[in-house]
C-alpha cells in the first residue's frame, strides 16, 4: 500500500515536471524510454492529430490507426524530430497528414469519400467549423478567409482532400503551374498573416 502511494506520488511529480517540458526536452525523454513523456506528447497533440486524420480518411477506425502509427513512430524513432526545424505539433501533424494521404491514395478510402462528397468537393463551412473549433483556430480561419479565393481553394483541395496539385489543377481546370503558384503564394500569405496576428509558429 505504501509503495502504491509512493508510486502515485512519483508519477504525479513526473507528470507535473513533463507538463512544463519543451518539445525538445519531451522528445529527449521519449528517447530515454520514458512512457510518461510519450503520454505527455499524446496529451498535448493526440486530439488535433486524430481530428486531422479523421477529417482526411473519413473513417474512425482508420483515423485511430493513423494516430497510433504517428505516436508509435515518435516512440520508436524520436531522432526524426529535430527541434531546430519546427515544433513537435507541426512534426506530428505533418506525419499524420502524410500518412493519411498515403491511405487516401492507396486504397478505397478515396472512393468512399467521393461517394459521400458532393460533386465539387470543396470543404464546406460546416466542416471547416468542425476542424477549427479551437480558440487559436480563429486566427487561421480569418487568415484563410482573407486569402484570394483561387489561393484558398487550391490549398483546401490539396490539404483537406489529399490531392496532388496536378489533380487539383484538373479539378479546377487550371494549368498545373498556376495551381503550384497559388498554393505557394497562399501559404506565404497565410504565414505572414498568422505572424502579423501574433500567432507564432510552434506555439500551441
Amino acid at each position: 500500500m505504501f509503495h502504491l502511494e509512493q508510486d502515485r506520488l512519483r508519477r504525479r511529480i513526473m507528470l507535473s515536471d513533463l507538463r512544463d517540458a519543451s518539445d525538445a526536452a519531451l522528445v529527449l525523454a521519449i528517447a530515454r524510454y520514458r512512457n510518461d513523456a510519450l503520454a505527455e506528447a499524446y496529451r498535448r497533440h493526440a486530439g488535433p492529430v486524430f481530428g486531422l486524420a479523421r477529417r482526411l480518411v473519413n473513417d474512425q477506425a482508420r483515423a485511430e490507426e493513423v494516430v497510433q502509427e504517428v505516436f508509435l513512430r515518435l516512440w520508436s524513432a524520436p531522432d526524426r524530430f529535430d527541434p531546430d526545424r519546427g515544433s513537435l505539433r507541426s512534426f506530428l501533424m505533418a506525419h499524420c497528414h502524410g500518412r493519411s494521404v498515403d491511405l487516401i491514395r492507396a486504397d478505397a478510402a478515396r472512393r468512399r469519400r467521393e461517394e459521400t462528397e458532393s460533386a465539387v468537393p470543396t470543404p464546406t463551412p460546416d466542416l471547416m467549423e468542425e476542424v477549427w473549433d479551437v480558440a487559436l483556430s480563429g486566427f487561421v480561419r480569418e487568415a484563410l478567409s482573407e486569402l484570394p479565393e483561387p489561393e484558398r481553394v487550391a490549398i483546401e483541395h490539396a490539404y483537406f482532400s489529399g490531392r496532388t496539385y496536378r489533380e487539383v489543377a484538373e479539378i479546377l481546370g487550371e494549368p498545373e503551374g498556376t495551381v503550384k503558384s497559388r498554393i505557394r503564394s497562399g501559404l506565404r500569405r497565410l504565414r505572414d498573416q498568422l505572424q502579423a496576428a501574433g500567432v507564432t509558429p510552434g506555439v500551441v
Partner: protein, 267 residues
Amino acid sequence: MKDMFDFAGDDFAGDDLAGVPEDHPARLVAAFSLDAVDASEAAVVEDYLRLHPEALKELQSFREVAAWLGYSSAVAPPDLWERIEASLDDRAPSPGPELAKVLSMPAPKSPPPTGHQAASRWPSVRWWLASAAAVVIAVAASAVLLSPSAVSDPLQVAVEQLREDRDVRIASLVNAASPVAVEALIDLKGHGYLLAGDLPRLGRDQTYQLWGVIGEQVISLGVLGPTPSLETFTARADLRALAITIEPAGGVISDGNPDGAFVGEVN
C-alpha cells in the same frame, strides 16, 4: 557542392521565383509541404532540400502553417492511448550506456531508473549521426585516424607519459553489456590515443569504427579494423564524447550501428 539543378545562387526561398523554370523543384516546395506532389516529385524535392537550407527553412514554415490549418478541437478516443501504451512494451530498448547525457539539451528530471526503461536509446545518437552526415567529409581532414600499422613502442611510451600529464583528457568507453572498457587519452594538442586492445575480435566482414561527439554532432573519426589495439586519432578541442560501433568492413560514412556500442564522455 553543385547539384543537378544548376542555377546561380539557386536557393529559391524568397518571394520571387520569376525566371525560375517551371519544373524547378523550388516551385514544388509549397505543394510538397501539403503532401500534394506525387512520389517521384517528392523524391526530387527531398534531394533539393538536402542541399538548400533556405528552401528547407521555408518548407518548415509552410508545415507550421499547415499544422494550423489542420488543427482542431477533436478529442482522441478514450481507449486509444491504452492501445498505444500496450504496444510500447513490445519494443525492446537497445543496450548500451547513455550517450544522451553528454548533450547539453535540457531534459525533464527522470525518476530513479528501473528495469529496461533506464536504458538510453541509440536513436538519439543516430539523430546526431544523421545530422552530421554533411560535415563528415569536411571534418575528415582534421580528424585523421592513423593506420594500425603505425602502432609501436614509442606510442606506448607516449601514452604512459600522457597519463602523468595533468592536462590530459580521458574518456572511458563502456558498454553496459560488456566487461570491457576502452580508454582514450587526448593531449593538449589534440593527439588522441585509444587503448582498444581488449575489444573482442571481429570477423573479417566487420570493423570497429570510432565516432566523436562535437557539439551536437556525431562525426566519424575513423575505422579501427576488426582487431584494434593501440590506435591514434586527432581530436578537436570541443570533442565531448567518443563512441565505438561495430560496422560492416570498410566502415560507414554516418549513422552508426547502435548494437554493442561503447560510449564514453571526454573529461
